[in-house]
């Protein structure tokens, strides 16, 4: 699923501004969690060159001309990877329900506080996609949360195709029918072109045409081409948002009927269909990403009894492999959580914006720490098709890592530095928002208009 990479072009603009091509960055770390399941290294050195990890180990000599970051006593681990998000956009969806020809490249706002929040929370790679209020929303882009333009931020410019089973107006029947009609339309379009080609060949044989050739690829309607890549060529992966447990069978039917490559993005209530999802994952290797609301209160409508459920634990117990998500520490005055119609109440707090909190919540409910951390590193990396580049700290991998003030599950584990592709894109000691939001103040706080 690795699309044409725009790495060298984009990163060169990046790297040239701060790190010269031959410069080596050396990180002296107290503890390094490689993300591979091995025991963490103590007092290790990581050498980074050209945006990649050149060497990592405990007995490495630091080159005399290396730029050194002293992280002794600190904890180093892979940067968090967010496999699905719709933050940082102008608005997350258009009013039209079927828009496969759109791309978030056109609506990513590089200075949106969402990206600032991702940097602050140690999220190094984000797959930004259209929101859930669509049937087919358009293409996503895998970005690092740093850059002046979407092109500078982009790592994979043409990533997944967003689809959703959440109706924005009207009911589910029409919504799914519209989705299916769009997919059928794309298939019919290709069948029509194939038929035209056959006719052309016949005409050619009968000398009834002066055209030299008929190239199908040149004739594909550009508005339909992105969907053709999903449902006919199977080149593009669909990310299908499933709001409720009752929508899971609908999603499975869609997959059965169209057999496209897909990732399920699960709403907070889908844990009730954990077994069904597990069997779908077993049969068809469908990756799954779960909603950031991990703790849901179920209220029995008759007895009034309230039970707390951890969605991640329900999935874990069913044997499902999943990626976690979080929205990043943007300190935004408005909470930007999507309002999902749901029978149960999923508690929304600032805490679930933090990968640290999400991982700790999983562990609190009984999921092993390595599994929880993998759900935010190696698993989303593999969902994005980038396992050879991100998710672990090994020789040859992209240098995407975070330097934490303490062990990742402890409350003191603030992100001190975030490095993506060898570039320090966040430094807490110079973060103006941290200064703005802490310390004794002698001049009056700025008040909002409201």
């Amino acid at each position: 699923m690795i699309q044409k990479l725009t790495t060298l072009a984009a990163s060169a603009v990046f790297l040239a501004s701060t790190v010269a091509a031959q410069e080596v960055l050396a990180i002296k770390a107290g503890t390094v969690n490689l993300g591979t399941g091995q025991t963490p290294m103590e007092n290790a050195v990581i050498l980074i060159k050209d945006g990649r990890i050149e060497q990592i180990g405990t007995k490495i000599e630091v080159p005399w001309n290396a730029r050194v970051i002293d992280a002794s006593g600190k904890y180093v681990m892979p940067a968090w990877v967010q496999a699905h998000s719709f933050g940082g956009l102008d608005i997350s969806n258009e009013a039209i329900q079927v828009t496969p020809f759109l791309s978030v490249m056109d609506s990513i706002d590089p200075v949106n506080s969402y990206f600032e929040g991702c940097r602050r929370a140690g999220i190094g790679i984000i797959h930004v996609m259209p929101g859930n209020a669509c049937a087919i929303g358009g293409r996503g882009v895998v970005v690092r949360p740093f850059g002046k333009t979407p092109e500078q931020m982009a790592i994979i410019q043409e990533a997944g195709m967003k689809m959703s089973l959440e109706p924005s107006s009207g009911g589910r029947s029409k919504h799914v029918a519209d989705l299916r009609r769009a997919l059928d339309d794309a298939k019919a379009h290709m069948e029509d072109l194939a038929r035209q080609k056959k006719e052309f060949e016949q005409d050619k044989a009968n000398s009834a045409t002066t055209e030299a050739n008929f190239v199908i690829e040149d004739k594909i309607d550009p508005l339909k081409a992105p969907l053709v890549d999903v449902v006919v060529n199977k080149k593009t992966t669909a990310y299908l948002y499933i709001p409720r447990a009752s929508d899971v069978p609908v999603a499975i039917d869609l997959y059965r009927d169209y057999q496209f490559k897909t990732v399920f993005v699960l709403g907070p209530e889908c844990y009730k269909a954990a077994k069904l999802l597990k069997s779908a994952q077993d049969k068809w290797q469908i990756p799954m990403i779960i909603d950031s609301r991990l703790e849901v209160t179920e209220r029995d409508p008759i007895t009034g009894k309230e039970t707390e459920v951890c969605t991640a634990k329900a999935y874990y117990d069913a044997g499902l492999i999943f990626a976690l998500s979080a929205t990043g520490e943007s300190y935004s005055r408005r909470m930007h959580y999507v309002r999902n119609p749901s029978a149960s109440s999923a508690r929304s707090t600032r805490a679930q914006a933090l990968p640290w909190w999400q991982v700790a919540t999983c562990v609190r409910w009984g999921i092993p720490e390595e599994v929880a951390i993998a759900a935010f590193t190696t698993i989303p990396a593999s969902i994005l098709g980038m396992s050879d580049r991100i998710g672990t700290l090994e020789k040859g991998m992209d240098a995407d890592l975070q330097i934490l003030a303490a062990e990742p599950l402890e409350p003191e584990s603030q992100v001190e530095k975030l490095i993506v592709q060898g570039e320090v894109i966040y430094d807490r000691s110079t973060d103006p928002r941290v200064k703005e939001l802490s310390g004794i103040k002698t001049s009056a706080p700025e008040k909002n208009g409201k």
Partner: protein, 406 residues
């Protein structure tokens, strides 16, 4: 015949099965092997705790337990006093319960609105909160009298630790929110109430002034319940829990305290970082807003480390979950206080011994010491780690949540 013998057997079995269990709750309990936080300082090893008759009979290095004591070896687990949430809306229908027929209702008692079986109590209990302050809402200038209750127990009456504990006074824009000046011919209640801070503070001044006059009056007029509460406040017989989020409201609260000689505690004080000198000089305790919440309720601007700044300045400060809007369970708020820079010992104290002191109930709760109520929590890890879980919660010596039989 057969039925009778079956019944006899049944009763015998019943007694054998139920007997020890029924009596188990009354047997002394000895907890050993855990790392214990007694209310201040660090977690200590080597302490044993004997629980008997609802109290901590003995806590120390060597504790002689009676022969019938149930022993629990809590290896690798952590024990703290039961947590004390200094302001909540537990047991209430909504986060803010107000008797809005009048904006000055100092005599209204929130205890009359509490549902002891509410699920909010059970959730707080399972997260380690054993004592909670329940408060009237913020829409009235004088909201009424709060109550301190245990989160579990036989009946509400048994659970009350202190009735009519403090008087709530609310500054800021909430008492005037939604009220509008009378511009139409048909007035209703909301046109009569204050529409901005001037009206709110006027109501406070008027109420205290009238109470002062009634107190000093030589005429034997009958004093209303409302006036009596205000007189008690003026006499410093009851503390006034004053909600003030923005810096201007904090300074107004301090000014009013000075003017009328009332004994106030600051509720929330979100912008305390701007009024720190005033708060320190006034020597007033603060019940801080939940540190994880960074969205302002009425336009105030929270910062990440306010509670740490207050603690470092020597201000007695504890944490509340308050209205509960976007707040996490109390123990997780303490984790966010640490994340914002608060020292770990101070954070643990701010949800145990310090709120007990501020609320005036430290003779009973907040620390693990001989003679205190046996309110304690057993955790899987250090409770300040969000990956920790409350395994068992004791209230008044009885296991009220979780279990120790793993």
């Amino acid at each position: 015949m057969r039925a009778a013998s079956l019944a006899v057997v049944g009763t015998l079995l019943g007694t054998t099965l139920l007997g020890p269990n029924a009596r188990a709750q009354d047997r002394p309990i000895l907890l050993t092997g855990a790392k214990v936080f007694t209310g201040q300082g660090q977690f200590k090893t080597g302490l044993s705790i004997l629980i008997q008759n609802g109290k901590i009979a003995k806590i120390g290095a060597k504790v002689d337990a009676p022969v019938n004591a149930i022993k629990h070896e809590l290896k690798d687990q952590f024990v703290t006093p039961g947590l004390i949430d200094a302001n909540t809306a537990l047991g209430l229908d909504s986060p803010t319960v107000n008797e809005e027929s009048s904006e000055v209702t100092p005599q209204i008692r929130i205890v009359d609105a509490i549902d002891p079986d509410a699920w909010s109590f059970k959730h707080a209990l399972s997260d380690g909160v054993t004592t909670a302050y329940v408060s009237p809402g913020e829409r009235n200038v004088f909201g009424g009298l709060g109550v301190i209750v245990k989160t579990a127990g036989a009946s509400l009456k048994d659970r009350v630790v202190r009735e009519d504990a403090m008087l709530r006074m609310t500054l800021g824009s909430m008492p005037s929110a939604g009220n509008s000046p009378m511009r139409v011919a048909a007035p209703n209640m909301y046109y009569r109430r204050p529409t901005n801070r001037m009206g709110t503070i006027w109501e406070i001044r008027k109420a205290f002034y009238d109470a002062d006059k009634a107190r000093g009056s030589r005429q034997k007029k009958e004093i209303s319940a409302a006036t009596q509460v205000l007189i008690n406040a003026l006499d410093r017989k009851i503390k006034v829990r004053t909600t003030a989020r923005q810096d201007q409201d904090i300074r107004t609260a301090l000014r009013l305290a000075n003017e009328f000689g009332i004994d106030i505690i600051l509720d929330e004080a979100t912008e305390a970082y701007y009024a720190m000198d005033y708060i320190v000089a006034a020597k007033i305790p603060v019940i801080a807003a939940p540190p994880s919440v960074m969205t302002g309720h009425e336009g105030e601007r929270p910062q990440t480390d306010t509670i740490a700044l207050l603690a470092n300045a020597g201000v007695p400060v504890c944490i509340q979950t308050g209205l509960g809007l976007g707040a996490l369970p109390l123990v997780r708020e303490a984790a966010f206080a640490v994340r914002g820079g608060m020292n770990r010992q101070a954070a643990l104290a701010s949800i145990t011994s310090v709120p007990a002191k501020i609320l005036g109930i430290d003779d009973r709760v907040g620390t693990l010491a001989d003679g205190k109520d046996a309110d304690l929590v057993v955790w899987t890890r250090n409770p300040l780690s969000p990956s920790s879980r409350a395994v068992a919660v004791f209230v008044d010596g009885k296991l009220r949540s979780g279990n120790l039989d793993e």
